[in-house]
Amino acid sequence: MSDNPARTTTAPPLPDGLVAVVKKDCPTCVLVMPVLNDLARRARATVITQDDPSFPATAEWVIHDAELELSWHHDIETVPTLLKVKDGQPTERIVGWNRTEWESFTGLDDLGADLPDWRPGCGSLSVDPTLSDQLAVKFSGSAMKSRRVEIAALEDVSESMFDRGWSDGLPLVPPTEARVMRMLAGTTRAPDDLVAVVPPDLVECTVEKVAVNAVMAGCRPDYLPVVITALEAACTDEFNMHGLLATTMPVGPVIIVNGPIRQRIGMNSGINVLGQGNRANSTIGRALQLVIRNVGGGRPGGVDRATHGSPAKYGLCFPEDEEGSPWDSLAENRGFTNGESTVTLFPGESPRIIVDQISRSPESLTRHLALALRSNISPKLAMMFDSILVLSPEHMARYRDAGWNRERFNQEIGEMLKLSGDELVRGAGGIEEGLPEMFAGNPVPKFRPGGLLVVHAGGGAGLFSSIIAGWVNGNTGTDPVTREIKP
């Protein structure tokens, strides 16, 4: 807790010298009562009692920590705890009863000669699960500024949050002060730090508001820096979150995570990587979408005009399997080092599969992937829409075996994705949709340069890859954005 920037108070001083923290409702503390008396007499020790003010005695060397303020601030987890205190601050501590340890700690002989040699301690009242949240809120000097919403005892908290319109349709974790404080411990940034101006209402969003929504989404505190960076990336001019939200197309911010943070927070880049079941994968993207909804005011039927939407809009976030890939990672390809953790935001819809269980040569597989990618968004449209291609380990093995690197792959698939303008123009193939007539007679690339983002992820078995289609790219729409995740 001491690293929590939301905690602004300093610990009240303890009496200098030897200090024992005890409670009567602990058999070990009761057992060592004669030793405490002995220490008070021989070493002028002070005893801090958590529950009964007359335990172990009513005396000036016994302090009643009725509010548990001393115990909470000095991180007492076990009683008895024996402390050496200098200038009001503990310098050393031991817990439980162990005669040899107590004698060596105090420098006194013959402590508790009639007692057993060793007994474990009990939990401190200050970490009692029924009290710890309130204590954290009470003593942390919370710097959180959000309005406090009181939900009455007879109200169902979960229903009440649905009723207030905070939910994306799934249950939320109630953002209590204690939970938000724990969430804020996941970043070194101060709660009132500005993260971004969030569309569509253009609201200044602080670290605290991101934390509140991350709690609701189900994030753990160590995911918070990823959510913060994703929000920063989403709220840039290049990413154009307003347009992405407002579009009738079924797209939302898709987050790809690279670098060491993937393992640190336990993300899944293997089996079912784009599906359910991993907390970090499932909640980080959701947290970003909840910030857009709650802070930015972006809601379906309001500024969000999606015709169909897609399951990806609940929040799609996944890491690349860098370790299993023979290629540089997506982030390295976009100018970052493999020691840096990053998020890449892409305006994407839900993934769909390409099956190829037969190709054994890279040429055959690439040709097939290219054929499938021709239908990205529409087989009659080209250049305006980017795409992510998620290569599975078994498909990547074709390129590893053949010694193709990312550049070779891009070059080969680029050639195979040069389409005939004659087949794409309006009216061609008996289909009125298509490119303007000016493209007739010339080859047209399916993707603009850099418009196909290739990522390696998925389970070890399965000769499939996945496509995540984008929406309008470039100055008129969205460019993918990669940002380094800072703690």
């Binding site: 309005r147 919403v149 009181e150 939900i151 209590t176 969003c205 802070v295 100055n475």
Partner: protein, 91 residues
């Protein structure tokens, strides 16, 4: 009782008085904003002709792209040059 923190932007919208609705468009300047969707101009040409028929003067504006909000300068230009605005969304 459970106390939770408000996850919203906690905006307090300003209440502003609406400009009175004009009794007639005769002699007024009406702004038409083309958001740059294909064939939006076809629709707006018809609207313009109808408005001119009602005796209004029409100013035409165009957003650089339908995919992004209108630039602040453009919104200011419309507000300062027109007496009335017809607001509409594409699609």
């Amino acid at each position: 009782m459970t106390t939770v923190l408000d996850p919203t932007g906690e905006l307090t919208p300003q209440t502003r008085q609406r400009v009175p609705r004009p009794k007639s468009l005769y002699g007024l300047t009406v702004g038409l904003l083309d958001i740059s969707k294909p064939r939006g101009d076809v629709f707006l040409d018809r609207v313009e002709a109808k408005l001119i028929g009602l005796g209004a003067k029409v100013n035409r504006y165009r957003k650089p792209t339908f995919a992004k909000p209108a630039p602040v300068d453009l919104r200011h230009e419309i507000a300062s040059q027109c007496d009335a605005v017809i607001e509409a969304l594409a699609d």
